[in-house]
Symmetry: D2
Subunit: 138 residues, 4 copies
Amino acid sequence: MSADATPAKRLVRAPVSVRWGDMDAYNHVNNSVYATYVEEARLQWFRSLDPGWMNTDAAPILAALNTNFRKPIEWPAEIVVELYAGRAGRSSFTASFRIIDRDHAEVVYAEGDSVLVWINPNTGKSIELPAHVRAALV
Amino acid sequence: MSADATPAKRLVRAPVSVRWGDMDAYNHVNNSVYATYVEEARLQWFRSLDPGWMNTDAAPILAALNTNFRKPIEWPAEIVVELYAGRAGRSSFTASFRIIDRDHAEVVYAEGDSVLVWINPNTGKSIELPAHVRAALV
Amino acid sequence: MSADATPAKRLVRAPVSVRWGDMDAYNHVNNSVYATYVEEARLQWFRSLDPGWMNTDAAPILAALNTNFRKPIEWPAEIVVELYAGRAGRSSFTASFRIIDRDHAEVVYAEGDSVLVWINPNTGKSIELPAHVRAALV
Amino acid sequence: MSADATPAKRLVRAPVSVRWGDMDAYNHVNNSVYATYVEEARLQWFRSLDPGWMNTDAAPILAALNTNFRKPIEWPAEIVVELYAGRAGRSSFTASFRIIDRDHAEVVYAEGDSVLVWINPNTGKSIELPAHVRAALV
């Protein structure tokens, strides 16, 4: 997930059960649902942060989501979304992800990255990454 | 689930993990997603049928879905959908359902019933319930 | 929509464009999406209420949704959801609905009813229907 | 949308009505729904192709979707998804997109690009872009 010498830190490993309703008229999981899977991992990681992931002065927003679809997913399936810490800037960081098969980790259904920006919800302006968020990335 | 002396047969017990994305702007699981939960149980039951739940001459359709919302669901939550066999007619049967908390079965989030009709997909006309489906109801 | 001599009042007529993504692996609009269509009509009606449909002391919740699926919907399609005022009680009322084709009003895709209860969001207890809501029903 | 001297061809302009149910617990349209909006434009364009966009020997799949979220969308809103032809290769092409406000075209809610690959559904292998698809890109 990284060309650096130091491997990226895995932020969360979120198992997800695919639902029949995740499929579309092609009989595969719809592309938009991959974003929901990644969101589930992201929120589970947010929820694990101490002392919290948002308050009245600081909250994250999703600025970008880039997904490469590698292999169709068909119901029933058990998958895992892995989120990794990427480059961190002043107010944002990149979180890359992989969606793999729960029982066959070598099967990669999708991979990509997302950009998370911390803002002040009152002003909508970006702020410095909260120290405890930055600390959780390394 | 039944006024009869004989208790209704439980067709399936489907655990479902609530996703953050199941919630709407009220911060509760959206009402439409309950239908997806019930669908997941129904499809898991369909899938368990031997020798299969649909073929080129016989397939089920959902004719009605009636849901009573008892208690809001908030992420994160682990729920269970239970499907019970109700009255069977010539070409249809009623499947009642309950959505309960996985760890606190006395917490009922919703209950209701659905009507499933078997049709010939080529003609769209209702057909007699396949014998193996009828057998699975009792 | 009513056995009464007085016809039910139509609360709203909400046109909806079916999206390709509304369909499921059966190539028809998924049953759960009908609930989203009805919700769209309900919220458009809520939004039309003067002086507003919720405040810190009073807000509606959906207590029940009963849907009869009459005819599959296939993309592309333009539909209309009609919401009608039904019986009103102290704190709730029944709103029946029809989902019809925009260009062929005799084509009924689904019909059913829903129960809306007004509660105090602080206590979760039901309250009397706000006067302006009750007035909008007749 | 392009650094080339020749401006990119607009493939489709798809108006979409935002639904209340598109919003999530943040009170904004959920990020996954943007993918559904883009999909709607893509499918409308597919549908406009003559003589058709898929057959037993050739069908498109979505290989990548990259979205930059510029501005939150709140219900009610009327938006437009514009799809533009980008670089074409042997079996794939890039389609960039913009999601803008219907009445204020200078308001850009999101922009990004997608990669569409044509495959033989029987083998899963990529094939040459059908001639009529390639012709529609210029």
